[in-house]
Symmetry: C2
Amino acid sequence: MAFVGTFCGAASRVENRRGLLSTARPAVSSSGASSFIAPVALKRAAATNNASGMTMSDVAVAKPLLQQTGDSFADMCINSIRFLSIDGVEKANSGHPGMPMGMAPAAYTLFQKHMTFNPKNPNFVNRDRFVLSAGHGSMLIYSLLYLYGYDSVNMDDLQNFRQLGSRTPGHPENFETAGVEVTTGPLGQGVCNAVGIAMGEAHMAATYNKPGFDLIDNYTYAIMGDGCVMEGISGEACSLAGHLGLGKLIVMYDDNHISIDGSTDISFTEDVGKRYEAYGWQVINVPNGNVDVASIDAAIKEAKACTDKPTLIKVTTMIGFGSPNKSDSHDSHGAALGKDEVTATRDYLNWEYPEFEVPPKALDHFRTKIPEGADAEAAWYAKFNEYKAKFPELGAQFESNVLNGELPSNWESDLKAYGEGAKANATRKLSEASLQVLGKAVPNWIGGSADLAPSNLTIMEGLGDFQKTSYEGRNLRFGVREHGMGAICNGLVLSGYNLIPYCATFFIFTDYMRAAMRLAALSQVGVVYVMTHDSVALGEDGPTHQPIEHLASYRAMPNMNMYRPADPVEVAAAYAVGVESRKTPTIIALTRQGTKKLENGSYEGAKKGAYVLSDNSSDGAADLCLIATGSEVDLIVDAAEELRKSGKTVRVVSMPCWERFELQDDAYKQSVLPDAIPTNKRVSVEAMTSFGWAKYAGTHVGIDSFGASGPGPAVMELFKMTVANVVEKASSL
Amino acid sequence: MAFVGTFCGAASRVENRRGLLSTARPAVSSSGASSFIAPVALKRAAATNNASGMTMSDVAVAKPLLQQTGDSFADMCINSIRFLSIDGVEKANSGHPGMPMGMAPAAYTLFQKHMTFNPKNPNFVNRDRFVLSAGHGSMLIYSLLYLYGYDSVNMDDLQNFRQLGSRTPGHPENFETAGVEVTTGPLGQGVCNAVGIAMGEAHMAATYNKPGFDLIDNYTYAIMGDGCVMEGISGEACSLAGHLGLGKLIVMYDDNHISIDGSTDISFTEDVGKRYEAYGWQVINVPNGNVDVASIDAAIKEAKACTDKPTLIKVTTMIGFGSPNKSDSHDSHGAALGKDEVTATRDYLNWEYPEFEVPPKALDHFRTKIPEGADAEAAWYAKFNEYKAKFPELGAQFESNVLNGELPSNWESDLKAYGEGAKANATRKLSEASLQVLGKAVPNWIGGSADLAPSNLTIMEGLGDFQKTSYEGRNLRFGVREHGMGAICNGLVLSGYNLIPYCATFFIFTDYMRAAMRLAALSQVGVVYVMTHDSVALGEDGPTHQPIEHLASYRAMPNMNMYRPADPVEVAAAYAVGVESRKTPTIIALTRQGTKKLENGSYEGAKKGAYVLSDNSSDGAADLCLIATGSEVDLIVDAAEELRKSGKTVRVVSMPCWERFELQDDAYKQSVLPDAIPTNKRVSVEAMTSFGWAKYAGTHVGIDSFGASGPGPAVMELFKMTVANVVEKASSL
């Protein structure tokens, strides 16, 4: 097939399938000429065009310039974005050019005409937020940050895309690049983060705004692609967003019909707009996002005008728009276009600038956002000063909690006092009481459960439900949507209001939300996960509900605090670490069943991750050391008593958090687990897989198979999680 | 609030919200009398009705019998199901009575009037399949299995619901109870399993049916609840089911408006029917599933009549139907009703039989399915014998592969020969070639990728795509739906056709599908997971895409083979284990980057999980032992050479699968990792967390933090995954 045929085929495909606006674009004849479209000579020499082996140079034909917006200044700006993205990927010889090429017009329209932000202070509290949920198109956001004058991305960074140490990693990372709100790449997560950010905005506005003082009043925008829409997680969060009527959430769906396997026709033919309408969203179609910036602009306006529903703007685009041979194909999705095709694309779009060069007029235009943004922030502060004068208490709270992320002075003393004064109970009950303490003490503490509130015991009394009519409520109702919940909580942290969210389900169901939890750990987001029913002792629900490998699997994850507290003091300590750890998420695993209150339970010790509960040796070199976490600490306390009766010296160690313990200095670590008691004299006891314990102990009382359905005590007995078994195993050492 | 008020409130709620058929049910006045509804005296004595402290016995009032189906025989059968479920939960004092009470009419209508099955052979190949996706309602399926005469559930089992060792665990388990097709409980999974089963049916029918011989021709039914619908996983699989036009998939949605947190109004107000229409499903509403069995029946008929779309039957019910005080409330969801309320429910529904007693007439009626089912199977075999005569080759293949689950004789020799003959490459490329071998050799080998086929390299050439118009295709196109993919593959295994499915994505994205993978392990389902891009060496995509904790997290999971092969021979061995392991899933982690071919790579050794590649000591007690997996085996081979140059004796061990190694006898284990080389002389090398390696080695070359974006070799260098570092660490021992 020769080039003319290819081009015409592509053109008619476009017209038939993508619905290019006929008013804006005269028909292209097979001769390629039209009064509106300038013919451009093709310079490509050797690129093979298709399987026939013919090359474009074989075909002498004038080449039509691809239709652009009709506004040459806008074209210049849009192509500035496009070619920075193309060039960045090209230089790295790695990355995803197709999405930025297709979505540059939408991104430009959004940033230029709608978004308020301050490039010189990416953290301006009332900025509009933007999330690139289709994170593989990272060069789009890097190009925008550069063009708008963010200090975080300079020309060197663009030229070092995807290189070690650059601020332009393969996928956007909030912790590397100021202006990147959230870390994306794993599909579907970003749009859910955006839901969380919009929830944060709604909560802040409801909590702090007063008549005449819209202190918090901003939009959350996101761009997602077919992959994001296909992922179940996005359905979860977007269904909730519809339920909550988040009118300031505006998501553009880059409907380009291409995913890695090729056309979405092979696996994804649902009616996305109708699905989002079913969720309770407003849905607006932009049939030609490649060129029709007026419709994009109108759609965003319409989205903003709808205040009681989130809006999905379905922007139909052509992936790799502008690439004569790779557009509308997965060839432009995930690899550099190649030198020849980049040249062809420059020709095609009539782009005369060399690589990484931006027309000065365009750059000037983009950079007008710098003073505009500074003005916006200054105006906001002026208003805030008025607010503080009029509402001194709320104003002070806003300044301290929201702007500065400070915690009230009493929060930890209240928590510790609760823990030390509380009676024994199931640790989930102790968690419930801790939540009440934090709910009172910490204004930015907010959270809820994935439809297990009566089991997780996560309702904060008197603090109201966060609902469409009551965004000031601090109890979140996630529905049975664990994965969406996890990503929403990431968004709440990253919303920029210093919110501290907790979320809850059964510990086993962290499996549903693991990808979001990993992103919390990776992107340094201090969510607190309240995970009850933490072992086979939950009983009758059986092995589908009984965690076995879960503690180990989170201990293996970097930057994750995995707590399993044993009693009220340890529960309080776990929460304290969770609240303090703003850059490390914390899981708190909690029992369904009752536990005892430890005689020597230590708040400080629990915060350090491990500590000695008792030791009857005189020299710190006991015959045996028993180590346990959570509900099994009761077992080793009793077992130690038995063993001591038979003349052994025994050290008893509670070890609620390995990661915190590993952060302590060697002296502390030796004071708890000294070399004088070698691992072959230590026994770990945990109603869970023994996997990983070899690091601390040579003998294990654990459960390395799946659980069983029966009353909790019977199940524990079945798996020999008994004092007798601990004594027997320890005695044999 | 007194009882009358409570009841009337409930009744009017029902009428207003649930749309009870006015033709079938006269209005209930506050006096409780009507010509159609028999008053029943309440016998409850002491149950506190509400927060006012008033009890039902305080209120002397005649009680209306709740409207039933209008067919007293059907009522008797339906109430047999209801009360077995109520009594089972009550005796266990644990479980979920509400759902079976609400859905008994739908389940009865489905099983009695529509389903073909043989109670005495739950594996009859052409049976209709039923999946209880709302697995917490397990007493519903146990009651049905008992009533229909399955040997797997007798009266003792019903009375031992949720007790250790019973065949009636808390949630349905396929491996415990014949007649339970899949293990459910974790929400959303079951309906996706059902999609997989329906795909299996479609594939079998397309592969084996001939004109006049509909060898495989059955329906897959499922019941799901609000929780299943909220979970994103169900959206993924149901979108794909719509795309694939699975006309024989019929899902009943128990729309009871109640989840654990209370009314679904607090978090779930989307239009589910519209969403499913958007997926391409037929949607039928049954407004009163509590009583209107005629409409349920008609809906199922309509569903069957639609051959090119799956059908969602939205059956609106009242949870806990029949319980005067706990229906329409989450009180009946997840706990026993309590003795008094059970009595009140018996009164309410005019049920005169004591606990666990089924009216003989009802039992006789249910048990007519025993001869009917036997006849159906006999007729099928008669037809199959004709088929075999007419199509001897296909008939023999069906008998061998589908009925008996046998593998062709040459499959393993072909695979092994490929591995031994192949040249070095990226292990994902070697995997691709292995897939071609298996595709040719094993007719029931089927699978695909979650939209990463060109990266995972998972297309089997010449075997066609499984699409709506080509169900005989063996390449599955899952779209970007990892979790749905995992659950669909579980369904494919459990479809009962002895299919062996593989599925693929980047190793990191197992995080999205972990809950389905755990269910594979728990429910003894031998899926093969082809997981490429298995370390930071994947390079530029960066830390969002780079696995760190993943190997450890799967090694910690019971009944999961976690393979990380190093070269062609080991890749072939990993696939062989995957194919053989019909009751254990197998993950195969594969590199993006090139690897060397090992000089002494051993197929048998790799199948055993670990083996010695080389050892230059004379006594089996080398100075050092280096252990690695996958691409890092190349590192230790080179490091050993260096170390030997400096006079050390070094053993080099490749350890592609810990779990398989642990299954070997002690003699074999000692032959690989002898006590003579203690752990403090062993170094593990893996470009991944060192978590867990303490069991085998005292020193680790690993990566215990998140990765980084850059070219693969640069990233490996950054994290010191180098020969030099291995030599240095080992030299220091």
